[in-house]
């Protein structure tokens, strides 16, 4: 080999990976499996509906506060989720809830003692209460949904939906397979952004970053259709949609599912009961 054939051009030192991934991380990492996290997805959905009844039937502050306290004190610890990680990833939700409450406090009917008066911003005891009720209520509504989303394996949910709620197999399985592509699309989006930069169409300013979203979304859509078509072909190539299908995973109910639904009912009963006793309960639309 001549002198110019090969040159020493550098060196590489690999780095060892530090972090290990948690066993399960759909939305928020799970610290440990619990009776709640392992409950049947259909039971979880039922529990969410029951909890929603407890908060949605009245718009008073007391029922929502009781529910939120119960969820924070009992529900959240029992879910086994990493609360620190939850706050880091979803901090925007409590912030949004406070903003919604603030807006309500400004807009609501001005009754009771005046607390703040700053030009157009008038807040009275009555409007502050209405605002606080909105903040607490949105948090109490969001929390069960987050817990279900973060503790439920989509495959188990699909099994439950088809086997217990008799949803269409074709629809549920297609949605399940498509949901798996979402991770790929996040990666593709990142690649498309880099590809635009290397072609000279990169977003160097905040404005161009905003205007680049439309062509990027279109490019992603093209990729999504292509991938979707290939996935559909792979599914059909394995006999999908040919005949009545069996389910190797039986979705079963256990005692813990009954307990989950009973506990949810107790939470709703408690929040409504306390509100009725205190006298703040008012059924909506009455």
């Amino acid at each position: 080999m001549s002198e110019s054939r090969m040159l020493p051009v550098g060196s590489v030192q690999p780095m060892t990976r530090r972090k290990t991934r948690p066993a399960q991380d759909f939305l928020i990492p799970l610290r440990r499996p619990t009776q709640v996290s392992r409950a049947n997805p259909v039971a979880k959905l039922a529990a969410v509906l029951i909890l929603m009844m407890g908060v949605l039937l009245s718009i008073d502050l007391v029922s929502a506060t009781v529910m939120l306290l119960l969820l924070l004190a009992i529900g959240l610890p029992a879910s086994g989720l990493d609360v620190g990680a939850m706050l880091r990833r979803l901090w925007v939700l409590p912030v949004a809830a406070v903003i919604a409450g603030w807006a309500t406090a400004i807009m609501a009917a001005k009754t009771g003692t005046v607390l703040v008066e700053l030009g157009p911003y008038l807040i009275t005891l009555g409007s502050l209460e209405a605002g606080a009720a909105i903040t607490v209520r949105s948090l109490a509504l969001a929390l069960p949904g987050i817990v279900v989303a973060a503790t439920t394996d989509p495959t188990d949910l699909a099994d439950g939906l088809v086997q217990h709620l008799r949803l269409s197999e074709r629809f549920v399985l297609s949605a399940l397979a498509a949901a798996r592509l979402v991770t790929l699309f996040i990666e593709e989006w990142k690649t498309l952004v880099l590809a635009r930069r290397t072609r000279g169409a990169g977003a160097d300013s905040l404005f161009s970053r905003a205007t680049a979203i439309v062509p990027l979304a279109f490019a992603l859509l093209v990729q999504a259709i292509r991938r979707g078509a290939r996935l559909a072909m792979a599914m059909e190539g394995r006999g999908f949609g040919t005949q009545a299908r069996t389910w190797s995973r039986a979705s079963r109910f256990h005692a813990r599912d009954a307990w989950l639904v009973i506990t949810a009912t107790c939470f709703s009963a408690a929040s409504i009961g306390v509100a009725v006793m205190v006298g703040t309960w008012q059924l909506i639309l009455t």
């Binding site: 060196s11 000279g200 290939r230």
Partner: protein, 511 residues
């Protein structure tokens, strides 16, 4: 299920909206249990034929002539009798857990639930994927995903197993393990096997028969020794873009100087944004020389390429551009490419991504080529001259008004390289440019890169393709070693297994 035969009588297929058939007049009989390698030029309809055999070809996507039978029935009526394995590992993982994914096909065939777990275990063992059934499919490598797909098909006990370039998207290490998994699955089930592949040497020693598909029926049909030994056929097979066993691509470019340094990275740490650092790298990119980044998947080759291309920021340290790279219009304010504006980057460092489609922004081939120089602020006449020159060089001139997404795989690959070349960047960085390409496209690409090198441009290539690195006489930066391994003379990356071995001087070949 017992093995099934495949019979075509005057079979042909015309894609919807096309006047000429993809292929026509196909007469063919494949005995039950036979192992067949199906080859042919790009676009001749090999994949279409496989899809037809599997019964997944939608009736609305084109018109069939003649007849095609799997066993005694048309394939659409017996869908599930033939199992299909596709090329792209990511697009055929269906479910999130390994066991569920293997079970998917059996469930679709209505197999009783209690029989499924045992078959899942046997199938995973046969293909050499010894993981727990609840192992996440997301955590599998490309080769493992392909073995998973094979297990899923095997567990269905199909009468025919059809495979569409199952190893084209894999690195050389994975190619043989996936092929062996296919052969083990075929031996276990005794099923008829039809595999499409343009690298004939992967399969030729392991099949009973080679079929070469042409636009009007079969060009060749016989046992591997007869077909490959027929000298009259060789030219025809080579013209079809097939990789013949033992064919040795020559050297396309030899650098004559050490080359001026264009980019320099000294102990930079590379990481994807938001992810952990993967490697600490030192590298020099020199004009008129190719630099091959080699090594196993996940070792940080692509991350390093993106960092050198100024597309992602360095995790620590800086990449520095030379004064001559900085010179010119839209001169960057600093020497660190990751801080440059996009329009400064486009005439200096270009990156070609592994998937060509990611790169396309416009509606016609000509506009696609004109896009880069326009962003860089070239004059209209300059742009036109560059576009015309490249259209001709790449033999894309008759496709100037075609939509980039409608091109064939090889044409897309050539266009994705060409649209980076129109802005004449001094440094071109490419990620696995030859992956899955047939021999014709391979030669075109190698020629293009050699021409760029001769124009004193620098090329950095992430590649598993030993023949490609060799053809460009590339310097090596090896990502293999557990400790620092300086790439040096006479160190042609021994650890890389290459399927297409060659060496012109009878020196050590590395298989």
């Amino acid at each position: 299920m017992t093995p099934l035969s495949v019979t075509a009588r005057g079979y042909g297929w015309t894609h919807a909206g096309r006047t000429r058939p993809a292929f026509s007049g196909l007469d063919l009989h494949i005995e039950a249990g036979q192992r067949v390698l199906l080859a042919g030029a790009s676009g001749v309809g090999k994949s279409t034929l496989l899809h037809a055999i599997t019964g997944v070809l939608p009736a609305v996507s084109g018109d069939a002539t003649g007849s095609l039978l799997v066993g005694d029935a048309p394939p659409a009526a017996s869908r599930g009798a033939a199992g299909l394995v596709l090329q792209d590992p990511d697009s055929q993982v269906i479910l999130a857990r390994v066991g569920d994914d293997v079970a998917f096909g059996m469930e679709n065939l209505g197999l009783p639930a209690e029989k499924i777990p045992e078959r899942v275990r046997t199938a995973l063992e046969t293909v050499g994927l010894p993981v727990e059934p609840d192992h996440p499919t997301l955590a599998l490598s490309g080769g493992q995903k392909q073995r998973l797909a094979i297990a899923g098909v095997l567990a269905m006990k199909p009468g025919v197993i059809v495979l569409d370039e199952p190893t084209a998207n894999l690195d050389p290490d994975a190619v043989h393990s996936v092929r062996d998994a296919v052969l083990a699955a075929q031996a276990r089930s005794g099923a008829t096997m039809v595999v499409v592949e343009h690298r004939l040497e992967i399969w030729a020693p392991h099949v009973d028969r080679i079929l070469v598909l042409g636009p009007e029926g079969l060009l060749a049909d016989g046992d591997p020794n007869t077909v490959l030994g027929d000298m009259r056929l060789r030219d025809c097979l080579q013209a079809a873009g097939l990789w013949l066993p033992g064919a040795v691509p020559g050297i396309a470019y030899t650098p004559t100087t050490r080359g001026e340094e264009m980019l320099c990275a000294k102990d930079i740490t590379v990481a994807r944004p938001g992810a952990e650092p993967v490697a600490t790298v030192s590298a020099q990119v020199r004009a008129g020389r190719a630099l091959a980044l080699t090594g196993p998947n996940g070792s940080g080759k692509s991350t390093t390429a993106l960092t050198l291309a100024g597309l992602i920021p360095e995790d620590a340290g800086t990449v520095t551009a030379s004064q001559s790279l900085l010179a010119g219009p839209h001169r960057p304010k600093c020497a660190q490419p990751s801080q440059w504006k996009s329009r400064s980057l486009v005439t200096r460092i270009g990156m070609v991504f592994q998937e060509a489609e990611h790169q396309f922004l416009r509606h016609t081939v000509a506009e696609e080529l004109a896009f880069g120089p326009r962003q860089a602020g070239y004059s209209k006449t300059q742009i036109q001259a560059r576009v015309d020159e490249l259209l001709e060089r790449l033999k894309l001139d008759r496709l100037a008004q075609a939509h980039p997404q409608t091109l064939s795989g090889g044409e897309k690959r050539r266009l994705s390289v060409a649209c980076m070349l129109t802005a004449a960047p001094q440094v071109l960085i490419v990620d696995e440019p030859t992956f899955g390409q047939d021999a014709l496209t391979w030669r075109e690409l190698t020629k293009m890169f050699a021409e760029e090198l001769a124009l004193d441009r620098a090329i950095v290539a992430v590649t598993h393709d030993e023949a490609f690195a060799h053809a460009l006489s590339a310097d090596r930066l090896d990502f293999n070693g557990p400790s620092a391994v300086p790439a040096q003379e006479n160190n042609p990356a021994e650890a890389i297994n290459s399927v297409h071995v060659h060496d012109e001087g009878g020196e050590a070949s590395h298989v």
